[in-house]
């Protein structure tokens, strides 16, 4: 096995292990840390796939943003030390059954599928190309989704502030 393949399987194992730990560990803060590792693993996977930009964005947004946000919200909701209540047995049973069967079915479908390679061009995700994809003045570019996402982010920002803002005490 080549070094590259080894690296992939190591990363895959890392991602899946930390992912499983994320959804099973009893301590919420540790779950967040496992999530962090899982996300970093995925960023590494992107590096391995030579999609550096996606990796950097993954790290910036997920690690620097979302996980920090989650940790902050853990702090704010006083959930640090205590163990989380364990899931209801009934629901874990059903959920586990459903998930395992669905996963098995999906894997079956995937393994029976023949993947056709579209073209033999070398994949080139340079920053320049990404910029042109997002905001260039061509029919192929994603200008409209880009603007929509911008508006969505703005709306989400305003919405978050409104939702989480403490109600002002009634002033007379």
């Amino acid at each position: 096995m080549s070094a590259s393949a080894t690296a992939f399987y190591l990363m895959a194992a890392f991602i899946l292990t930390t992912g499983i730990l994320t959804v099973t560990t009893k301590k919420l803060f540790r779950a967040a840390i496992w999530l962090l590792f899982s996300l970093i693993g995925i960023a590494a996977l992107y590096f391995w796939m030579e999609v550096e930009f996606a990796a950097a964005v993954q790290v910036i947004v997920y690690v620097g943003g979302i996980v920090v946000l989650i940790i902050f919200s853990i702090f704010l909701t006083n959930q640090e030390g205590v163990n989380m209540p364990s899931a209801l047995t009934k629901r874990s049973l059903f959920a586990g059954l459903a998930v395992v069967s669905a996963a098995a079915y999906t894997c079956l479908l995937l393994s029976n599928h023949y993947w056709m390679k579209g073209s033999d061009v070398v994949f080139d995700p340079s920053v320049n190309k990404i910029g042109r994809l997002l905001v260039a003045n061509t029919p192929e570019s994603f200008v409209l989704p880009f603007e929509l996402v911008s508006v969505l982010l703005l709306a989400a920002m305003v919405g978050c502030i409104v939702i989480a803002m403490k109600a002002k005490p009634e002033t007379k």
Binding site: A3, F29, R30, E52, V57, I60, V127
Partner: protein, 358 residues
């Protein structure tokens, strides 16, 4: 002529010849790791010594002067002491995370070294997204700090960690925006491209006012991101004992301590790369003979000189400005720096579109 570039090329060729492709790669990785750790150790020692000496200079006193000539081994002795100390773990702490935290911070700091160009053609990994990579990886350190604060099971640590994280996350924005100003002017995220764009003059001396503004904002943001005075209230002794690393002792404390100085170094190195041309010698276009003279000074000297100058500036700040309150700190970022750097970015973009920067 002996230069770092020549050394590495020689080493690489030798390794390939003797070991073959995969093992050469592995050996190189190991060597790079060793080099990085060595660099860290040396840097840590040097910077701590420098800090003490600068502090003494500012306060008109001598500073360390007993161990070795001019007290040059003082920091080594301190390090020895820290290594010898028992690593205490507080009762009720989450041991796993408690032990993991300093390594997180340290590893993040080490990973950021990868795209930094120390000298001409001396770079571990010339990423196509170099600057973005630096910004991304340095944000991982926040998690380490939060982890340390939370797992210590100490409210001062927790508060310090939260303050620290809030501060870093906030100031990352204006740091990122001022970095983007240069990226826009250069048109590339690659570190080597950025340095090469300054071959006929560093951005800071090209006389663009927006670049000057970006540099000032960047310097403030780096100072804040590294939790240094006047933004050091995360570890404000009078309020929080020592912030997130209150409970750490021994080698783990040393790692935090070291990481802090490494972060200063990295921040200043990035600043030097973006604004002062990195290893690029001081060139004035047209003055060929002068430029030729400048080229004789090794590029690594240029780089370290500029970085040290910035580090000195930051140390100077520490002993000059009084500490801010937390609300002043956040106000400064969100109400002044962020809008300023956004408008600045707009101006820079406009400049780039009009082609005035060339």
């Amino acid at each position: 002529m002996i230069s770092l570039e020549g050394l590495t090329t020689l080493l690489q060729a030798w390794l390939h010849d003797t070991l073959g492709e995969p093992w050469a790669f592995a050996a190189q990785s190991v060597l790079v790791g060793i080099a990085a750790i060595t660099l860290f150790a040396v840097l840590g020692l040097a910077l701590v010594y420098m800090e003490r000496k600068v502090a003494a200079l500012m306060q008109i006193r001598l500073g360390p002067n007993r161990v070795g000539p001019k007290g040059i081994f003082q920091t080594s002795a301190d390090t020895l002491k820290l290594v010898m100390k028992e690593g205490l773990t507080p009762n009720g702490a989450d041991k796993f995370l408690f032990n993991l935290a300093p390594f997180m911070v340290m590893i993040a700091a080490m990973l950021v070294l990868a795209p930094i160009a120390f000298a001409r053609n001396f770079q571990i990994w010339d990423l196509s997204i170099g600057v973005l990579y630096v910004a991304a990886i340095s944000s991982v350190a926040v998690i380490g700090i939060l982890m340390a604060g939370w797992s210590s099971n100490n409210k001062y640590s927790l508060l310090g960690a939260m303050r620290s994280a809030a501060q870093i996350v906030s100031y990352e924005l204006s740091a990122g925006l001022s970095i983007l100003a240069i990226v826009i002017l250069t048109g590339s995220l690659r570190i080597s491209d950025i340095i090469n764009s300054q071959a006929d003059g560093w951005w800071i001396i090209k006389g663009h006012i927006p670049v000057l503004i970006a540099f000032i904002v960047f310097l403030i943001a780096v100072t804040a991101e590294t939790n240094r005075a006047p933004f050091d209230l995360a570890e404000a002794e009078s309020e929080l004992t020592a912030g997130f690393h209150t409970e750490y002792s021994g080698m783990k404390f040393a790692l935090f301590f070291l990481a802090e100085y490494i972060n200063i170094f990295i921040g200043c190195a990035i600043g030097a790369t973006l604004f002062f041309g990195g290893w690029m010698p001081f060139h004035i276009s047209g003055w060929d003979s002068f430029n030729h003279v400048m080229d004789f000074i090794p590029s690594s000297l240029w780089f370290f000189g500029k970085t040290m100058f910035l580090i000195f500036l930051i140390m100077w700040f520490r002993w000059t400005f009084p500490r801010l309150r937390i609300d002043q700190l956040l106000n400064l970022e969100w109400k002044y720096l962020l809008p300023i750097s956004m408008v600045n970015l707009l101006i820079v973009t406009f400049m780039a579109i009009m082609g005035w920067h060339l």
